[in-house]
């Protein structure tokens, strides 16, 4: 399959910026005194049809989940059922965050979602407040720090595998920990000896995802947990790969103490071009008192209330997190039920395994689950550019580094045989292309290859930096 993406241009530029269509200066007159107000405001002044046309064209120059396969490894780009948008758009959902007793529906939904996540993750308590996966990690690490401090135990290190997500390192640093990296073993799993050498009395937590970044299950996770717990550290589960395991195994049963969920991955809330997501944090009983405030609980009278857990870390979001994402995730879980959720993982794992059979690249680490990391053996970023011309979004590239020229591929459960075939063709086309062809890819997308060096060296970050005629 080939793909020609829309390319709206005028005089050699893509759909002009709104400021290129109009710029209008308005004199500001106000009841406020002059010294507190601006004199004028200059912005584009367009009619509604012009604005609508502009954004429709922009949407046509963007690739979404329904545009074609989107096997972006570790991102879980699954179908986002539109009925969940309708529910999030209900007027009854548009409530102010200072309300409590008059928003029993909102609190009931949040409590219901907490319960679902507790069961799915095998944990005892869940806070929905973290607005993204990285925020969930960060909240989890603050919980770990408070927990240790409450025992008079100052622990300054967080241990992560070398294949971990970049956010693990950054969240640990932001929470004030130094990061200790453990090399993976030859099989791509945590090396128990290396882990034993890395952990000690300064270890606050070990962060890992399972299946790991290679899609491979950490079979020795129970032993890993023992090593970490023996050293007095906590086990942190990064929920990025939970779509591999629904109904098969639960982080809480593997010895994890703290985890986050990515509702925008596993539970189908839309990624929105980068966000909003939601990264609820779940903990075992012993840590429940440290959860962010406020937390939702039953009020003992058939209703729900907000309360401050006794040793709460405080807040990680100004209010209650990304509420609309919570509505969508709750609706998704209710719609699929246990059967659909388990099926999602089964088909996601089957799809990854089937696709790996159909592509011309080696997959050095297996058995893998919902995703695999193939080795392109040539510049993986260039391979990705070639794939764009074939109607697919390429895999995540060049990470994890332990695979040479990595193509981290996660087709999710939403592709059928036909979609996977389209993907396989794209992999083949990229494998067979000569170097020159790769270097000139993509050709059929809205823009061609962009000068990244110039973008970084001479940053143009707003229309003011552009030499444009207004």
């Amino acid at each position: 399959m080939t793909y020609d993406q829309a390319r709206w241009t005028r005089d050699g530029v893509f759909e002009p910026l709104t400021v290129e269509k109009d710029s209008t200066e308005v004199e500001v007159e106000s009841a406020l005194p002059d010294d507190l107000t601006r004199d004028k405001l200059e912005l584009p002044e367009l009619s509604e049809p012009e604005v609508a046309g502009h954004y429709i064209r922009l949407s046509q120059m963007n690739y979404g989940v329904e545009s074609g396969p989107y096997p972006l490894g570790s991102c879980t780009m699954k179908y986002n059922p539109p009925f969940t948008e309708d529910l999030a758009g209900l007027e009854s959902a548009a409530v102010h965050p200072e309300r409590e007793e008059s928003v029993q529906g909102t609190l009931a939904l949040m409590h219901g979602l907490q319960r679902h996540l507790e069961v799915i993750g095998g944990v005892d308590a869940v806070s929905l407040q973290p607005p993204a996966g990285a925020a969930g990690e960060y909240a989890g690490l603050l919980i770990a720090r408070s927990y240790h401090e409450s025992r008079g135990d100052e622990r300054g290190e967080v241990v992560v595998p070398d294949t971990a997500h970049g956010t693990n390192f950054a969240s640990a640093a932001m929470a004030g920990f130094s990061v200790v990296k453990v090399p993976s073993g030859d099989d791509g799993r945590v090396d128990l000896d290396a882990l034993e050498a890395a952990v000690g009395e300064d270890t606050a937590a070990f962060m890992v995802t399972n299946p790991n970044t290679l899609g491979v299950f950490e079979r020795e996770i129970t032993e890993v947990a023992e090593v970490v717990h023996d050293a007095g550290g906590l086990m942190y589960y990064d929920g990025a790969n939970l779509n591999a395991l629904l109904g098969q195994a639960r982080p809480g049963d593997m010895g994890f103490d703290v985890m986050h969920f990515n509702l925008h991955k596993t539970f189908a809330t839309p990624h929105g071009g980068g966000g909003p997501g939601a990264g609820p944090v779940g903990v075992v009983e012993e840590l429940a008192g440290y959860l962010p405030e406020p937390h939702v609980r039953e009020d003992g009278d058939g209703g729900f209330e907000l309360y401050r857990p006794e040793d709460s870390i405080g807040k990680v979001h100004g209010f209650h997190g990304n509420w609309l994402a919570l509505v969508k995730a709750y609706a998704y879980i209710e719609r699929l039920g246990e059967e659909g959720l388990c099926s999602a993982s089964e088909m996601a794992v089957l799809n990854a395994n089937y696709l790996a059979e159909r592509i011309p690249f080696e997959v050095p680490y297996s058995p893998f689950h919902h995703e695999f990391v193939a080795s392109a053996e040539r510049d993986a970023a260039e391979v990705a550019k070639k794939m764009l011309d074939h109607g697919v979004h390429p895999p995540t590239t060049k990470w994890p580094e332990i695979v040479d020229e990595a193509l981290m591929t996660e087709p999710t459960e939403v592709e059928g045989v036909d979609g996977l075939e389209v993907l396989a063709e794209a992999f083949h086309a990229a494998a067979e292309a000569d170097d020159e062809d790769l270097a000139e890819s993509p050709q059929r997308t809205t823009s061609r290859r962009i000068d990244q060096v110039k973008a970084a060296r001479e940053p143009v970050l707003s229309w003011r930096d552009l030499d444009i005629e207004k």
Binding site: H54, I56, G64, S92, M174, A249, E334, A344, W463
Partner: protein
């Protein structure tokens, strides 16, 4: 094998795929040790879409149908229908972060326009593509200050929203900073008291205008001057509607401007927001999160791409400027669309309405026995504080029984927020207040 409504596989497909992979069942693909297998259920039955819609709608109907006159950092303006229709385009809504810019030009350009809007409104040079909310934007700004200046003290108004302060304290604790409140006087910074407080150990001074009382800050440039005297980063909190009217923060010496851009594009969403972050060009390499830039493509056309990514966690890991990855891009898109629909004229008119309404409603409150409004003599934006004889919690509770939600500021003070969304309900609110106070 189980089934899901969002998987296309037929039984035959599954058989064929299993054959290709060389296993007899899907179960075999899970390399999970027996002792870790989960045998329990999830205690949730599958439903049809219709049943799910009914279930969730019914749940949300448990929310009381009341009229909200509460702001406190989360505001509602009327969002035109076309914003939903455009932002809900699947290509926008379902896409990921723009790591493949060639197929993501549409979203990148929308974010570039969002960044440009904030640059115009603040007078500063560099806006990022969003962070989570106003609170995390404030936390990020303080962390940036700690990277560019030395010292350990962070000064914020002593009447800052509790939630915002708690998030800030969490953000800066790892960097070894301490957050202190500076005195405020009738809803504005107490500049004399602040002058006593600042010293060379201060890295960050924060000021809000309008602040949590809705009061417009009248001495912002003096606060900026004090901050500048000790080489601290001066951060101003304000929002895109207020900024359409107020003097641009750059003109009062702001180094960073943060707050919530979702006052445009999204109505009440139980506190979900869109943190914005705008700063000076000299700090461009210290900015958290995504930045969209323009650069030519191979055919020489102007195109857009995420840029300066070496600041970010996926490259710089523990030395990144922030851990943020997922942001609030779709909310930024909504804000940009809404701002485009309003245009400068609409934005200024809306902002002016936000000055007139609290003024008018406060004087109506003031006529009610036992109520003084506004509580202090300031200029107000969107909301005001009213002093009541008695307990504000009690008054708010009595108003709620009559179908009106107002904020409680403290002891005997109410916070009242009024915009074009609830202005038609003001008569009812005032009547209810008369009953409650009478």
């Amino acid at each position: 094998m189980t089934e899901s409504p969002y998987t296309p596989h037929s039984r035959e497909d599954v058989e064929q795929m299993l054959g290709e992979v060389g296993v007899a069942s899907v179960e075999e693909l899970f390399d999970v040790p027996q002792e870790l297998r989960y045998e329990g259920g999830f205690d949730v039955e599958a439903k049809s879409e219709k049943e799910t819609v009914e279930h969730v709608s019914k749940l949300l109907e448990e929310n009381d149908d009341v009229v909200e006159f509460v702001g406190g950092g989360h505001y509602s303006h009327y969002v035109p229908s076309v914003v939903d229709h455009l932002a809900d385009r699947s290509e926008f809504l379902t896409s990921y972060t723009q790591y493949q810019p060639e197929v993501s030009q549409g979203f990148l350009q929308a974010l570039f326009e969002y960044q440009s809007l904030l640059v115009e409104l603040t007078g500063l040079e560099v806006a990022n593509a969003s962070v989570y909310d106003a609170a995390s934007a404030l936390g990020e700004a303080a962390l940036m200050a700690a990277r560019v200046e030395s010292g350990s003290r962070v000064l914020v108004p002593d009447d800052l929203y509790r939630g915002r302060r708690s998030v800030l304290e969490n953000y800066v604790e790892g960097a070894g900073l301490n957050v202190e409140g500076y005195p405020t006087e009738r809803g504005n910074a107490d500049v004399d008291a602040l002058e006593e407080l600042v010293d060379d150990d201060v890295v960050f001074v924060y000021l809000e205008s309008p602040n949590r009382c809705g009061a417009v800050e009248e001495r912002a440039s003096e606060v900026g001057g004090l901050s500048d005297d000790v080489d601290a980063v001066f951060c101003v909190g304000s929002d895109p509607v207020a900024l359409a009217l107020l003097e641009p923060p750059a003109a009062v010496g702001a180094d960073v401007v943060v707050d919530d851009a979702s006052v445009l594009g999204v109505s009440a969403a139980y506190g979900m927001g869109c943190g914005f972050y705008v700063t000076r060009e000299e700090y461009v390499r210290q900015v958290p999160g995504h930045l969209v830039g323009a650069a030519p493509d191979a055919d020489g056309r102007r195109a857009y791409t995420l840029t300066l990514q070496t600041r970010e966690q996926h490259i710089r890991r523990e030395r990144a400027t922030s851990n943020i990855c997922t942001n609030q891009a779709w909310m930024a898109l909504r804000a940009a669309i809404h701002a485009s629909l309003l245009g400068p004229e609409g934005l200024v008119d809306l902002a002016e309405r936000c000055v007139e309404l609290p003024h008018d409603v406060a004087s109506r409150f003031d006529e009610v026995d036992g109520v003084t409004a506004p509580a202090f003599d300031r200029y107000y934006f969107r909301e005001f504080v009213a002093e009541v004889d008695g307990d504000a919690e009690k008054v708010a509770g009595d108003l709620l029984e009559r179908g009106y939600v107002v904020g409680v500021d403290s002891g005997s003070r109410l916070r009242v927020c009024v915009t074009e969304v609830n202005e038609d309900e003001v008569d009812g609110l005032v009547d209810a207040l008369e009953e409650v106070m009478g």
